[in-house]
């Protein structure tokens, strides 16, 4: 009996570790974080995501966060609502959120649910989102001129 409980504990801990690994908060520039969301988001994962993000904003002093949902399979009302709350919580820490990778299906879901898209800054794809974030932060990416070979 003890063996079964021990196994269950190990499985729970591994699930927890996997959840944390699958929602990494990544710094790609000074003050800019990226949160790629992948797979199925259940309420528990959504909650953990938000907590991790807020801690990351504070630790990295992020001013902009790009949340990319390209990899999210489907979004129901709960997860959509959670996303809105995450955006608002990030704002309370002084960070602006840009949501990228909305598929037409998810966009339609959000509209149908009645999510106030005015509260969300969305850009088509991750690249566009990062470019927008860089603009907001005052970065400009320019090609370095080829050195002359005399």
């Amino acid at each position: 009996m003890g063996f079964v409980r021990e196994r269950e504990r190990v499985i729970r801990e591994q699930q927890e570790a996997i959840r944390e690994l699958s929602t990494p908060v990544l710094q790609v520039r000074e003050r800019l974080l990226i949160l790629p969301m992948i797979g199925l988001i259940d309420p528990q994962r959504a909650r953990q995501l938000t907590e991790q993000l807020l801690r990351g904003i504070r630790a990295n002093r992020a001013k902009v966060v790009v949340i990319d949902i390209t990899g999210v399979a489907a979004m129901d009302a709960n997860v959509a609502n959670h996303l809105v709350l995450t955006v608002e919580a990030a704002r309370l820490l002084g960070a602006r959120v840009i949501v990228t990778g909305l598929s037409p299906e998810i966009a339609q879901t959000l509209v149908n649910i009645g999510v106030d898209l005015g509260k969300m800054n969305t850009v088509g794809d991750l690249q566009g989102g990062i470019e927008e974030a860089e603009r907001v932060l005052g970065y400009k990416v320019v090609p370095v001129p080829e050195p002359n070979h005399e």
Partner: protein
């Protein structure tokens, strides 16, 4: 229990150092109203870094303070909301909509300085 309000150039900085009773919050509101007028401040920073909890009364009063300060031609910035507090606030539907919030005091001062440069002095 009084919240210390310090003058920093054209700005006032109110640093909340521990949990406040409702009466303390009202006292802070009144003190800021008086000081903003006296100092002709252009901005007010309310530092809530030390708060573990923000309830609906605190949130509502802070919104009122920001509104009142805006009517006097100055801007309010709430700084230092902790991650756990922010999380709890949004889940309880407590909003600081319309009030500028920044990560910490440094960011708050930076924001007010940029705004002051953008808007000509009275």
């Amino acid at each position: 229990m009084q919240v210390p309000i310090l003058k920093q150039g054209p700005f006032l900085i109110a640093t909340i150092q521990s949990a406040l009773t409702d009466a303390d919050i009202v006292e802070l509101r009144d003190a800021l109203e008086e000081q903003v007028g006296k100092s002709r401040s252009r901005g007010v920073i309310i530092d809530v870094t030390a708060l573990d909890v923000m309830d609906s009364f605190a949130t509502g009063t802070l919104r009122d303070v920001a509104q009142m300060i805006r009517l006097r031609g100055a801007e309010t910035v709430i700084v230092g909301i902790q991650p756990d507090v922010a999380f709890a606030m949004v889940h309880m539907g407590l909003s600081l909509e319309g009030v500028t919030t920044t990560l910490d005091l440094e960011e708050g001062l930076d924001y007010l300085n940029r705004r002051a440069r953008a808007v000509p002095s009275r």
